[in-house]
Amino acid sequence: MRRYLGRKLLIYGLTFFVAVTVNWMIPRFMPGDPVSSMLSRANVAQPAAVEAMRAHYTAMFGFDLPLWRQYLNFWGALLQGDLGISIWLFPTPVSDVIVRAVPYTLGLLIPSILLSWFAGNRFGAFAARRKWLDNTVLPFGYVLTATPYMWLAILLAWALGIVAGVFPVAGAYGFDLRPSWSWTFIGSLAQHWFLPFASLFLVAFGGWAIGMRNMIIYELEADYVNYLRALGAPARLVRRYAFRNAILPQVTGLALQLGVLVAGALVTEIVFSYPGLGHLILQAIQNQDFFLLQGTFLFIVIGVLIANFVIDVAYVLVDPRTRTGMGGAA
């Protein structure tokens, strides 16, 4: 078990290293002088700000230094939590901007991922039992997984928000409210949260349900199932065992899908102007705020790596094979 998790940690460490290096390299690989092109593209009105930023960038990039020195400095700044200054919200440090947005993204992602995973698995296992249900659910599930996240978000916003007028379609809370611990505010928060959550949930739900349905059908053909049936074990026990075994690849699948789910959350936030990381990315792109963009990138990578590790630990808990030192799924 220790070897298994150790190996995973090594990979995550390397991944982080690669991500940081890519982040450092990209501005340097692009043609032209990144500082002036950034400044000229940035929509900054105050001359003082432009000067401050030029000084900051030059210090940050350190173009007069040898490359390896620049690279080390980049790491040094990063490890101190210095991701630069945002252009869009000058002069707020990028890390502050991100920290303010993260709770919104997590608030959308964590419930939608967990609930869609649990509900999808349950439902998929249930559908696999009944032919007619299977035949109606399957095409529906495929349509859901094929739906681009933002399109479902747009449809929901249009149908439930604009046409029916049941839910608000922009922001995380009412424009007339300020964050507080009042019921009015929390109610408004929940109202604004629901549609983005629902669209993320639905697309992911379709994928999990189909995955589980296929896994269960595969497991029900397995030798251990045939043996149990030959010994007259009731369907209840057989299904319980099949579900238990089918869930394992679904846990691995959760790790594999994280990137897609995060991407889904980003575009969904954009549709609903939800003030999470997706919204930041859009603003960063529209305002040519590269520090903000790169900081968000690193933040997301770190988040995904942590989530991956959590899933690995969960996997060890559910798959005895990883615990007995016999390997199991990589």
Binding site: V18, P148, T296, I300
Partner: protein, 280 residues
């Protein structure tokens, strides 16, 4: 054997329906744009016109023909899916074959690389890269999509290669001194051709979805129309608030139909290739 596969292929409803849907959209994308004597972005009609005999899918806030944009957009969607899918499949095959066939430290190394790219969230990497590119084209978009979405294919192909590696016919080729690339090409790849094809279809679909997300965020090709860009424009110019449903429903429905058809086709093909899955 061939005939048998064809026999089941023509009788597989999923495969037939999926293929028909794909073909309809493909033909529409290829032939459709010829119907217009104007480009997809030209202002040809009254602004915000609902669907009519003249403009089948209405017009945008600027009076562009949504139907023309849709047909041109289909081209971009298929192109990015095909190019991105082919590239990802190619990289995945090279990595998977070499890792699975050679084993040892090469396998370790490639496995490490695969895992790293696998964990990195592809869309976010693409965001960074594309944001720095001033001018973006479909080709470059497909290139980067291909370079980030191969890992799971590589993994699956590696596992398959691994199991084929010790088969008799491969041993025989090895003993008779055939070189590695030739063994992979002549002995291993043909034996998993159906599997490779299935992999390609899934990569095709996922490339389309990734491209649509990039376009929607505003990092789409700067020089053409795509279904994702249509969604981006619709959202940017408040099509929702203005109730211009004909602007944002068709592009999303198109993507969903194409990708969904690819998935269903994939399941159908799987049933044709694996007799065990055929319904009795």
């Amino acid at each position: 054997m061939r005939n048998e596969a064809l026999h089941f292929a023509l009788r597989n409803r999923k495969l037939v329906v999926g293929t028909v849907v794909i073909l309809v959209f493909l033909v529409a994308g290829l032939v459709g744009p010829l119907m217009f004597d104007y480009g997809p972005n030209e202002y040809v009609g009254p602004p915000m016109a609902p669907p009519s005999g003249e403009f089948w899918l209405g017009t945008t806030t600027f009076g562009q023909d949504v139907f023309a944009q849709f047909l041109y957009g289909l081209r971009a969607t298929f192109l990015v899916g095909a190019l991105g899918g082919v590239l990802a499949a190619a990289v995945g095959m090279v990595v998977g074959f070499v890792a699975g066939y050679r084993g040892g430290w090469i396998d370790e190394l490639l496995n490490m690389l695969t895992n790293i790219v696998l964990v990195l969230p592809a869309l976010v990497v693409l965001l960074i890269v594309n944001a720095y590119l001033g001018v973006r084209s479909i080709g470059v978009q497909a290139l980067f999509i291909g370079l980030t979405s191969w890992p799971w294919a590589a993994r699956a192909i590696r596992a398959q290669t691994f199991s084929l590696r010790s088969r008799e016919f491969v041993d025989l080729a090895r003993l008779s001194g055939v070189r590695t690339p030739k063994i992979i090409l002549r002995e291993i790849a043909p034996n998993m051709s159906s599997y490779l094809f299935l992999t390609f279809i899934l990569l095709f679909g996922s490339a389309i979805l990734i491209a649509a997300s990039l376009d929607f965020i505003g990092l789409g090709p700067t020089d053409s129309v795509s279904l994702g860009l249509m969604l981006n424009n619709a959202a940017r110019w408040s099509a929702l608030q203005l109730g211009l449903w004909w602007w944002f429903i068709p592009p999303g429905a198109g993507i969903t139909a194409i990708v969904g058809a690819l998935y269903v086709m994939n399941v159908g093909l799987d049933e044709v290739f694996n007799p065990k899955l055929r319904e009795m």
